[in-house]
Every structure is written in C-alpha cells, then in structure tokens.
Symmetry: C2
Subunit: 760 residues, 2 copies
Amino acid sequence: MRNLTWLFAAACLLFTNAIFAAPARCDESALEHKFDASIRPGDLREWMKLLAAEPNQVGSPHNRANAERILAWFKQWGWDAHIETLQVLYPTPLSETLELLGPPRPFRATLQEPPIPGDTSAAATEPALPAYVAYQSDGDVSAPLVYVNYGMQDDYKTLQRLGVSVKGRIVIARYGSGWRGLKPKLAQEHGAIGCIIYSDPSEDGYSVDETYPNGPMRPPRGIQRGSVADMTLYPGDPATPQVSTAQTARRFEIAQAKTIVKIPVLPISYADARVFMQSLGGRAVPRTWRGTLPITYHVGPSAVPVHLAVRSDWSPKPIYNVIAMLKGARWPEQWVMRGNHHDAWVFGASDPMSGQVALLAEARALGALAAQGWRPKRTIVYASWDAEEPGLLGSTQWAQTHAGELRKKAILYVNSDSNARGFLYVAGSHDFQHLVNQVAADVIDPETGVSIGRRLRAKLRVEALEPGAKEHIKEMARAAADPNRDVPIEALGSGSDFSVFLDHLGIPALDVTFADEGDSAGVYHSRYDTFEHHSRFVDPGFVYDAMLARTAGRIVLRAADSDLPVQRVQDFAEAVSGYLAEVRKLASDRREEVETQAALLRDRAFQLAADPTKTHGLPTPLERGPHVEFASLEDAVDRLKRSAKAYDEALARHGPALDAARLARLQALMLDIDQTLAPAAGLPGRPWYRNLIYAPGRFTGYGAKTLPGVREAIEEQRWADANRYARLTADALNAYCERLDQAIALLTGAPSAPVHASAL
Amino acid sequence: MRNLTWLFAAACLLFTNAIFAAPARCDESALEHKFDASIRPGDLREWMKLLAAEPNQVGSPHNRANAERILAWFKQWGWDAHIETLQVLYPTPLSETLELLGPPRPFRATLQEPPIPGDTSAAATEPALPAYVAYQSDGDVSAPLVYVNYGMQDDYKTLQRLGVSVKGRIVIARYGSGWRGLKPKLAQEHGAIGCIIYSDPSEDGYSVDETYPNGPMRPPRGIQRGSVADMTLYPGDPATPQVSTAQTARRFEIAQAKTIVKIPVLPISYADARVFMQSLGGRAVPRTWRGTLPITYHVGPSAVPVHLAVRSDWSPKPIYNVIAMLKGARWPEQWVMRGNHHDAWVFGASDPMSGQVALLAEARALGALAAQGWRPKRTIVYASWDAEEPGLLGSTQWAQTHAGELRKKAILYVNSDSNARGFLYVAGSHDFQHLVNQVAADVIDPETGVSIGRRLRAKLRVEALEPGAKEHIKEMARAAADPNRDVPIEALGSGSDFSVFLDHLGIPALDVTFADEGDSAGVYHSRYDTFEHHSRFVDPGFVYDAMLARTAGRIVLRAADSDLPVQRVQDFAEAVSGYLAEVRKLASDRREEVETQAALLRDRAFQLAADPTKTHGLPTPLERGPHVEFASLEDAVDRLKRSAKAYDEALARHGPALDAARLARLQALMLDIDQTLAPAAGLPGRPWYRNLIYAPGRFTGYGAKTLPGVREAIEEQRWADANRYARLTADALNAYCERLDQAIALLTGAPSAPVHASAL
C-alpha cells in the first residue's frame, strides 16, 4: 500500500508543474474522476432516443414535452431549475410551390423527404415541417433561373465577369462556402426576385460517401432546412431587436423587420435540383462552380421560367428555455454558464441532441457530486435553449432579458451543439485557451488511449503534410509539434448560442465539439437526422457524446472551482497581435489589388482575355483608398503584450499567496475584463454586435472576422470607419490593459500608479 | 501618297528598336505580308477534310495515302521532297476482354465508340482501331480491382496511408495529372497485374461542358487511346533503342524491350467505368480522389474479380516520314526545321491534322514566295512525321538516322501538333524566347485586333487575379504587365516530335500552339476527333489553324533569313538561374520534410491521427540525405549570367558591322551552342536523354523537369547522382559559356584569351 501512496504523491507533483490552480490539482483530479464515473454512454443513448423520437421544431408538442422532461431531470438531479417561456415570431409554411414551367415538360419539385424504413423518419407519428427556410418572405414569382454557385460575394463578381445579371430573375445557389442566409440576402441585393438553395452531392451527398441509409451522406431527396434571417445584423427574434423580452416590447411589423429577407426562398434536394439545373442555358460554368450532378452546369438564364411561391403562418409561437442552477458555495455571485439548445428542424438527433445529452450527462454528474456533499465554489448555470435553429432566439432573448445580471456575474459561457466521433475542436475567447489545453491534456481518447489533446496535435501535424495545406494549418501544426506550446483555439463567429454572450455582452465563450470521424453533415437539418443515423454513423456507442460531457464538464468544473482567475492573457495578446498583422497585410494587399486592377482596366486586359463568342463583362473598378491610421492600434497591442506577460507572471508568482480580500479584488478585476472589449458603440451598421475582437463576418455568416470593425471596413472600402474603429479597438484594448495593470499592482503590491494611468 | 509613305517609314523606325535582325525588318515585314496572303483558312479546311476522312493510324491505308498526298503537295509547291519509309514494331489488338465477373450481375465492357450521325465517325468506310493502348503487354488476368486515382507517385503514397495494396490486383486509374504511360508503369512497380485507365467526366466529360455532338466534350462512350511505352526511358521504336535505322539494327526481343510495360492495359469510357467503379468496396476516397460520376468513389478492392485480357498482332508495320527542303541561298548548310506529325489514333482532325494543315499552308506560302524569286538565306526543312502517336517513332528514328548531319546543320526545330482557337502558347529553348516575343508582337489576333502577344499578356494578367493563382502564374503576369519585358516561354518536356531534337541531340526547339478557347480535349485520341468536331468546336472557320501557320511560319522565316544569330542568351541565363533557385529550394524543403516526417513517426502521429475503424497504414520513412554540392553549379550560373549579358551587348553593338568572314565564324560558334548542354553522358538511368537543362520528368511524362540530372536525383534520394550531375551540369554550362566568350572576343575584337580559359 505504501508504494502505491508514494506513486500517487509523485503523480500529483508532476501534475502541479502547471502554474494555474496548481494547489487544487490533486483534489481536482479525484473530483473529476468521480465526475467521469457518472457519465455513461448508455444513458446518453436512451436520452437521445427519447428526445429525438418525434419532430422537435419550435412550437411542436414534442419540443415542449422535451423542455418539461429536461426540467424534470434537472430537478430530479438536485438542480434549482425552471422554464422561461416566451412568444416569438416564428413563421411556418402553409403552402409551397416550385415548378419549372416546361418545355420540354413542366416539372414540379417534390419538396418532400420520403421516410426510410427502419428509421425514425418512418416511425414518428407527429407531423414534420416541410422543406423550408425560416424568415424568407412570402411571395409568388415567376422568372428565368440563373445559377450563382454558392451565391457569395465573390460569385457575384464572377457573374459580372461572365456578363450575366440576376436582376428580375430567380437564382439557384448550392449550399456551402458561406452561411445559408447570405445567399438570399445577396441575391436580393443584386436584384433577384426569388432564391432556391440546393444541396449539391459534391458537398454532402454521394460524392463524399454512400448516402443514407447505406452510408452517412445526404440521400437524393434529403433537404437542408434552416434560417435565413440576417443574423449578421442581429440574431434573436426578428420582430423585437435589441429589447429584453418579447412579451413586453412593441412588435415591429414584419415588413419592417430588418433581418427578414424580402424575397421568397426554398431549399430543395439534389434530386429536384437536377431538373432545374438542366434547364439552364448560357455558357458552361467556370471550374470552381462545378458540382457533381451528372450534367453540365450552365450559368443560365433558363429558357423557360421557374415559378416559386411560398405562404406562411406568421403567428407567434411559444418557446421554452430550461434554466438550472447549482449555487456556488464560496462565490455564488460568480457564474459559470453552460448551454446547448433542444429545438431541432425535425428530429435533431445529431443537431442538437448529441450535445444536449452530453449536457444532461454533465448535469446529472454534477448533481451526483453535489448529492455527495461537494459544492462548486462558483454558481454553475446550465441552460437548455429553445429556438436556436430559427436564429438563436432562445439564448438571445434570455441573455438580453438577464443582461444586467450576466454582465455582473458571468465569467464564462461554454457552448456545445452537434457532436460526432473524432477529434476535439474548441473555438472561443483566447484568454481561456490554456484552460482548454489543460483539460485536453487530461482527458483520454478511447480510440487511441492517449489524451484528446495529444491526438489533436497528431491530427494537425499530419494535416499540415497534405499537399497544398494552408499557412494557417501549418502554423497550427508548428504549435502542435511543440509540447511547450498550447494548440491555438479558433476565433468564434456565430452559428450557435454563444453569440449573444460573446458578441453582444462581451462575456468570454467557448464552443466545444468532437468531429471528423463520424459525420452528420449529410443529414444536417433534414428529416434523416435521426437516432438511427446518429447511432450508426455519427457516434456509434455514444462514446464521443460522453467524451463531450467529460470535456465540457471539466472546463465548467475547473472554471467554477479555481481559486485564482483561470485566464492566461498572453494567449489573448498573441492572438490579437496576429490579427493585427493580418489586417495590416489586408490593407496592403488591398492597395496592390486596386493598382493591379486599374492597370488591367487601363490596358483593356479583361476585354482582350475574354472569349468574344461568350457573354462577358467588366469588373467594377475598385476604389483607391487612403492608408489606415494603425498607430494607436499598434501601440495598444504592444501594451497588451507587455501587460499580459507581466500579469501572467505576477499571477503565477504572487497569486497562490493572496489573502482573501486581495483575492476578491483580483477576481472582481478579472471577472468581467473581457467586457471592456465590447463597448456600447457596436460595429458599424450593426450595433448589436459590440465585441471589437470577434464577430461573425457580414459576408461569411458563421465564419469569424477578428478585429471586425477595422477588417471589414477595409474589405468594404469604408475608410472613415477603418480609422474610427482602429481607434475604438485601441481604446478597448487599452481599457483591458488598464484592468490588467490594476491586477498586476494588486498582485505585486506595487504602488497603484499604473492603475490610473491613461492609455499608454 | 507621300503621307502614307512617311507613315510606313516611321513604322519601320519603330520596329527597328528591336536590336535583333534590325536591318532586315522592313524587307522582312513586306515578305511576311506576302507570306500571310498565301495562307487562306478555306484551304486548310479542305485539306483537313481530306486528311481526316478515314482512320489514320500507323499502318492504315489512309495514313499511307496521306503521306503520298502530302509528298505530292510539297513537290507541287516547289519543294525538294521525298518519303523515308521504315518498318517499326507497332502492335495492334486482335482481341480484348474486360469484364466484371458479377455478382450482382456479370458485366462486359463495351470497349466501343458508337458512330455519331452526321459525323465522320459514321461516314468513314475503313475500319478504325478499337479502344486500346500501344505497347501494353498481352495477357489474361483476373483479380479484384483497386482504384488508384490518377495512378501517379503521390497516389501510391496516399494508398499506402489508406492501408490498401495493389499487389496481385488490377488497378483502375483515371486519366489526368500525369502522362498515361506512367499509370501502368507505376501500377506494375507496385505489384499490380493489370491496369484499366478511364476518362472521368470531371476531366474532359460532361462536367466541363456539353458532350459531343451537343458540345465539345467527351461523350459517355468516348475512349482515349494512346501509347504506354515508357517514353521517359527513350521514345521511338521500343525494339531498336538508340540505333539509327530500324531496318539495319538487330531487333530486340519484345520481352527485352525496356519501354514495353509488362502487364495488360486497356482504356475505357466513363459509361463502362461507372460499373467497375461501383463494384469497389473499402473506404470512400479522399476528397482529391473524387471524380464526378454520380456515385461514391471507393478505394477498393472490389468483392468480385475483374477479368482483363488482351492479345495483339506484334508484326512490324511501315511508317512514312515526308521530308521536304527549300535550299538556302546563302548558308545552305544551316537548317531551320519545322515538323508536325500526320498519323492519328483514328481520324485525327484536331490531333494532328490541325497542326498538319497549318504546316502545309506554310509550305505552300513559302513555295509561292520561292516561285516569285525569293530564297531563304538558310535551308528550310519541313517534315511531316509518321508514327508520333505510338511514341514519337517517325521523328525519333529519322533524327537518329540523320543525327550527324543534324548536329552540324540544325539551328532550330519548330514543332506543332494539335491546335485550337485561342491564345498563343510557346514552349522551348529559352535563347529563342525573344524571337518568339518579337513574332508574337507582329501577328494580329483576329478576334481582338491586337497582337497575339498583347492578347496573351492580357490573359496572363487576368489569370493571375484568380483566387489561388499560383506563384508561377503571378510571376508570368508580372512579366506580362511590363512592356519592356518578354513573356517567358515554358520549358519543354515531351509529348510531341520535338523530343529527339531537344532532349537527345541538344538542338534548340520550340513548340507552338493556339489553345484555350476551342477545345479538343473531349475527343482527344477518340473516334470523335473528326472534321465536324474541329469545325464546330475547336476552330470554326479554321481561323486559328491559319494563325498557327502565320506564327510558326514567321519564326521559321526569321530564323532562316536573319544575318545575325537570333538567340538572346540572357533569357536562357535568367531561366537557368531561376531553375537553380528552385532546385536549391527543393533540396532545402526536402531536408525539412525528412525532419518533419521523422518527428511525426517518432510521436506516432500518423497512427493517432488515423480513424481506427478504417484501413490505414504508415508512410515509408524518408531517408536523411547529405547536402548537395551546389558550388560548381552556382559558379557556372554566375558565369553564364555575366557571359550572356556581355554577348547580347556585344552582338547588338558590333554584330551589324561584322564582315562576312567574322560573321561566318560567329555563326559557326552559335549554330550548335545549345548542343554543349547535351553531353554524351545522358541522364542517370536513361542515357538517351542527354539535355542537362530540359527533360521530360521520370514521373511526370510530358511535363518538363529542368536541370533534370540534379532535380530528379534530389527528388528520388539519389545523393551521389545529385552531386555528380551538379558537376556535369556545371561543366555543360561552362562549355556553353566558353562558346559565348569566344563569340564575345570575336565581336569585340578583344584578345582571344577568354576563348581558351578553362571553366572559371
């Protein structure tokens, strides 16, 4: 027995070479082992089977039943839980028509996903929503069709060069490349009167792997539903922007809701799309526009018109957010939040139930620890959100309602959504990057027996060997190859419930998932995202859904129980410094691009290079812009790097010895430090987005734009905005640094001079 | 009238700012206008219709009739012409079988290209060869099938990582990426017992554009024939390597012929291929391995075996090279050569008749000039080659037969082959780059009214704007944007009749074509490469086939009539300097790659990154190699740059004033200077290839490898070869420089000291 005791002590000494929360590591390790023991894949399997048994769209009976079921579980597991109900604008289709008005023969799109024998899609008794996208506008239009590839900004530039206009026409875009909602938005901006979006087999159909039920990928009649509300302006209820509760706010007229696209839109399957694509005339598409339907893709227009009509029920629908708390023993006024939505487009086994059952497993395990007498030092708040799918309505409306409290209390929001067998991917606030790496180093991957962190490092290094690997991947691989460096986490854009916390309130957020080996992309937002599909192709045995619970649960546990602040701010400083370098390069590349294009226009190069037997057109001349005033931002980033290094070192050296009063003051300084990065001004033209470091791109949707005020201004030739936001971003970083400098003074006992120093 | 005369004089002054052949420019311009006037698209059309009316494979009656027809034309146009006949080893298939031995049901490949109504493919009366590849080995094998993507080296590395072996199996490869003949060669080296090659619709079928007869691309049953003789070892008759005449040389046994692949091989259509591809099991292929058949591509192996059997008639067949001469008036012992083959796989309208009719148009125009009293200063030799398709047999055997004379007399060989509407592309010896640019500046593009040079510059600049444009394209665009710089020409590998001249004899060569707007890729080597296809989709009106005649004809005319040598050697020096930089980078990247891979293997990264539910394997460890001794090559390149600059300047300053005796000595020095680059040693393992600057890659086939002795040694970890060929290449460049230094001394009247200076 003695030998074993000695071994355990040695192991703890090894663990404590990590400088953060070091004194707690042995207790922590024991606690986490107990936590793990409560997480049983078989339970996750049963919960998913129950939750994904019937359609779960907003307003459906089963979605409401799920909320009540989840509430009951939380209560049963010892949490203080309740449901917050709201009424939101949520249209559902009453009638839909999409047809090609022949010749050679008229064709009416089926718009249906036939049931698959043996699958929930055949067994369910409640009605599913038909193929549709939320927050399109009802309409009835007929016009020739034009293919716009992914329907993104660059595609319209190409279309201009191809000499084809979408004005007065209906566009057909394939899914992929950027967020769904940008496709009708850009189509409308270019004068189109309707929009069809289809799933090309090259993206998630037979080209990738066999189709369901033979394999994981999208079958010919599978349809991707989704929201097309302009989430890049603001998420949440389109009819009640920036107000705290749907019940009390004056409702906009639907016509005034800025995030509702003004043209009718329908999503279709590739079985249907093939007929419409074959109707297109005009030149064959450029190489990068080709999909893998067995036809020649043409740009269009079609000789015969397409008829598109949609009519919806625009009445309000109820949504149910389940909120559960486990009160902190020492600092109850500090919250660690964790969330995952429970609404789905149809059954939603992978999206969102795979993440939801992980969250439930964590909740039960935490409840079990509490039942054994443990209490977290901070309050843990778990949320099962409703109405994420139509546009993050549940989380957004809830967080806006509770904004004041959240700003004071929330130290971190940990999100998940879909999950699959594979590798750990975390994105989010970079001051929590080290915490993520510490957790990743301590969770063992069941397929390989090494830590999930080590496995991810292996993956990144192998990926970087692929021919044509991007510089970003190579940089990740260099970090991954060095055991003394952390694996960088990616920046967050939008696309799940973290948005209101990070983008609007400035509260640090992490989004956690496993991915890459299992694949739910082929059933994404379709009727085939079922328990059977998830069990067979996405996470057989529910092993990685349980891994998500172990990983996200550990992040929550460590953030809730650490005495010292868990941020390592040098990681944030390094990330911001890299972003600034990117933005400077963007400005410089942009100037070069303008000059190159001007010379080509002057020399008539576009005309001379064009094939005169085909339609073609000239690009819009780029505008020559001034240099951007980067100096204040450069100074702020330099300061950030210095302050961050000083803070991290001071925390490591003096943190463990702080008395309770100083620890409380330190916590107060660091709890809401990230909110300094999200001042009230907001981003140009979309003030709901306040975070000046991270935002979803105006023209990427889910994809992140870092230093967005400056970066997007340069991309979009808004030179006054570029200078203004360079300054505003510098101010925000200086405010962040002032907090750090106060914390350094507190930790080192130095005179408080730096505390009141103005920027620089 | 006076004004017009003045304008013409001014135009001539403008032209003469080019330093080469300047005194002759006004006469030249008048001569070239006369030359142009004889080139009439309607004639080219009629000739093609005649030449491509029946199948023209080696040994066919129509191919022989064409040779005699071409001979008669040359004679009619005043040329001294004859046919040189040879017997060569040229197998033709007697029987072919390719079948999938079921279940679900046995399938026998059709191996047929059905006729298309209204097309020569339906109208011809002579039999066409069936689908086959020349110089495969007869055999009868049955085995499971494995998909190997393009069947190139990197694909076998990927296959190893996917944990799939081809040993004892039959492989199926898609056309594309590298030369056809490498596919069975590499399959055989990896242990495969048979090879199928198919045309994927992503490469040249419906994905690119509509299929013939609705559009230019390959129809479902179209088949690409071709040669699979290992041309990277040596081209020409496989049975008589490196001997001068097929008639007199002892014939190898077929089994001993090193360039004949040892396994049976068949090419198939995508209609047939789909069934075989669908039979494959195993994991779905990686993204870059996907084609656009409407199925999931799997790696294999297939559950049921494939049966492949081929039997051929290996008897010798006659070939007919037509050789025509127009004797030089002043320097008859200096030859400017021009060639294009006349044999085809079937009708060969685009390949080779589009180039053949251009060559004929030039020959008639030159004959017409001669009939009016003009004689070229140098002898012009036109060749209409036979048996290019099976492996450059006609040109190779002829040039080997006449090697001694060619080494003494040939100053340049100008090649063409297929041609299409579009942009001028020239590849070849860089000392002739400036001549090409001068000609390109003087030929007017009929679609745009600007010179073909200016149009190409526009094209390159616009291409460089494409997202993801390669650095090579961007560098080309930078040159194209600067009117004071020439557009770089590409290096030549193999794939047409220039090979024996450039690669074996060291005679400078240029390959000239128009391409990009018309497209014959979809009928390449198929029964559908017909007069109707060419007229409709490749070059309607035969406008660009006539442009080829005007362009290649001008190159021939200027090279034949210039008093001074036409080379500008700084262009060559610049190209070689760039190649050396590439090779040094290759060596350095290679060392980094070795270290990276070693670290990944040490850390078990490949295992950890692999999906344990799928087959996978480890890469072969790369061998750590020594640094390569580049110093002598660096010195030689430095010297080359100095000598080239001094020579070009001396030629411009003193050349025009040379007396006849010194001019003759200068010409003698420069006539065969490029042959110093092709010493007798030859490349490692393939001594037929002597040129140390340009060669077809051992693992690219048609694609060029520059500084091949060193570059390929590094790529293939042959470190002793790398050092040896760095030295040999340096010696060759020094020998080239010694010639230059002698020429400089001659031009400047300086003491002849540098002439005898040894290297450096």
